[in-house]
């Protein structure tokens, strides 16, 4: 909602400077201030947003009431961020929101201010009366921001006091998404704010059942999944994020072509694009079925299959049209390119451990560097010498 949030927030800070509880610290980056300032009014919201239906009155002021239905623009926004358009700035104002007609006994749900996350939650709140505390996670989802600590104990305590929550609800229970747990220390929150933290289900779609069961999560609700659909939605952004490097490589190829005897051609173009797809799309999709555990190895296998396919498509490995040197270079480079990007997918996966990633990288990174380096030398020789 706030594409220019920095400046908006700064104005908000200035406007409220007269209020006694305002502590503004405008010394560093203003975005930081937006997160740190303690003078944000509970009721600050942009009523032009279509997902805000109006406000409801509480003893602490007016609280924005949200729609529990996603509009076409919400869905379009979700599609855009899945393709990396404005993904780092798809956020809403942190603060308190109301779903339905909550009163002082209604449950309090805590979430992140990434709009994709917020939308996933609110569309599950149909027919429910609940308060929603949106933490300032800088537009990052719950799990990632919990890992970074922005969805954390400090921000939660800060937000509880800023939204004057204890004046709005008469109970002392907060429901946090389970995946917020890496950032939040429940016992510390209780000690410092008096609010008891209950971890709800992993997925927002289970929240209604969780509440109906008296805040009890079934085992199944506590488990993170990573099925083919979960993986598929991640692949566009994985692929698109390789474009910068791809354009750089194609630029270098173009420059080399200006002086090459044996210039790069369309085969080189699709060979590289295919390796990128093998690493960023095919490996993630086929993940559990590739019979090795290390992601770098999974990607390498997919890349090797692709490299062999390219060579066979161009006249077979024994007598490739573009010569044996390039055929070997492809076998060195393409699997390693796919391997590198598959290895990067550990960061998006939901089950790889930090220690495991380090273990595989210590082996994979030098090998990837060496094979791509050697293969590149072979390609260059092939460009300038007829063999």
């Amino acid at each position: 909602m706030n594409t220019n949030s920095c400046c908006n927030s700064e104005e908000a800070i200035k406007k409220n400077e007269t209020s006694s509880e305002c502590v503004s610290n405008q010394n560093s980056c203003c975005c930081e201030n937006a997160g740190m300032s303690t003078c944000e009014p509970v009721l600050q919201y942009d009523a032009r947003q279509r997902w805000i239906l109006g406000g409801i009155d509480t003893s602490e002021g007016k609280i924005p009431r949200i729609s529990t239905k996603l509009s076409l623009s919400d869905i379009a926004g979700a599609c855009k961020v899945r393709f990396g358009i404005g993904r780092m700035n798809y956020k809403i104002n942190p603060g308190l929101y109301a779903a339905g007609m909550p009163d002082d006994t209604s449950p309090v749900l805590v979430t992140a201010n990434y709009k994709l996350t917020f939308d996933a939650l609110r569309k599950e709140l149909n027919d429910l009366n609940a308060w929603i505390v949106v933490l300032d996670t800088k537009g990052v989802n719950v799990w990632c921001s919990a890992g970074k600590g922005t969805f954390g104990t400090k921000e939660l305590l800060n937000r509880i006091s800023k939204t004057r929550l204890s004046g709005i609800v008469s109970h002392k229970t907060l429901i946090l998404p389970q995946l917020g747990a890496p950032g939040v220390s429940a016992h510390e929150v209780e000690k410092k704010s008096g609010f008891r933290v209950v971890y709800g289900p992993v997925r927002a779609e289970d929240i209604k059942e969780f509440l109906e069961a008296g805040m009890k999560a079934k085992d199944e609700m506590r488990k993170v999944k990573f099925n083919i659909i979960n993986r598929a939605v991640l692949t566009p952004i994985e692929f698109i994020s390789t474009f910068k490097i791809a354009i750089l490589v194609f630029g270098i190829m173009f420059l080399v072509n200006l002086i090459a005897v044996n210039p790069f051609g369309v085969v080189d173009f699709y060979a590289l694009m295919g390796a990128l797809i093998a690493g960023t799309v095919i490996t993630p999709l086929l993940l559990p079925w590739i019979p090795v555990r290390a992601f770098a190895a999974k990607g390498w296998i997919m890349g090797l299959i692709w490299a062999m396919a390219v060579n066979i498509l161009n006249g077979g490995f024994a007598i490739p049209e573009y010569g044996i040197l390039k055929a070997f270079a492809y076998l060195l480079i393409l699997p390693s390119v796919a391997s590198y990007f598959a290895m990067n997918f550990t960061g998006s996966s939901t089950y790889t451990s930090f220690s495991g990633v380090i273990r595989e990288m210590k082996i994979a990174v030098p090998l990837i560097g060496f094979t791509i380096g050697l293969g590149t030398v072979m390609l260059m020789i092939n460009c300038f010498i007829h063999i």
């Binding site: 700035n89 747990a181 016992h187 992993v202 506590r222 079925w289 960061g347 996966s349 451990s353 990633v357």
Partner: protein, 98 residues
């Protein structure tokens, strides 16, 4: 099909002497690594652990220890090159600061 990652690398440690069996670790674990047996938590399969750190962070009795970190390869490489701890600032400063 169940996703399985590398074996015998996980740094998860549980100190049974400190554990009071409150079950908070079971509540926060996304991979069902713990169970309660005879009033104390127990690790079922350490290889299922992804070191997210939720259990250690939420154990009021400091019974759990795990080295958690950013499992993003790019961040790790940048950390190696720059000699710093890996950070997950994939955002690269875009829109972070005005």
């Amino acid at each position: 099909m169940k996703n399985k990652y590398l074996k015998n690398v996980c740094t998860l440690k549980l100190d049974s002497d400190k554990c009071v069996g409150c079950g908070r670790c079971i509540e926060v674990c996304p991979h069902n690594v713990f169970r309660i047996l005879k009033g104390k938590a127990e690790i079922i399969d350490k290889d299922d652990c992804m070191e997210c750190g939720a259990c250690a962070k939420n154990c009021a009795f400091n019974a759990i220890e795990v080295k958690s970190g950013v499992g993003c390869a790019y961040a790790v490489i940048m950390g190696w090159l720059l000699g710093t701890e890996p950070t997950c600032d994939c955002s690269g400063g875009s829109g972070e600061c005005c």
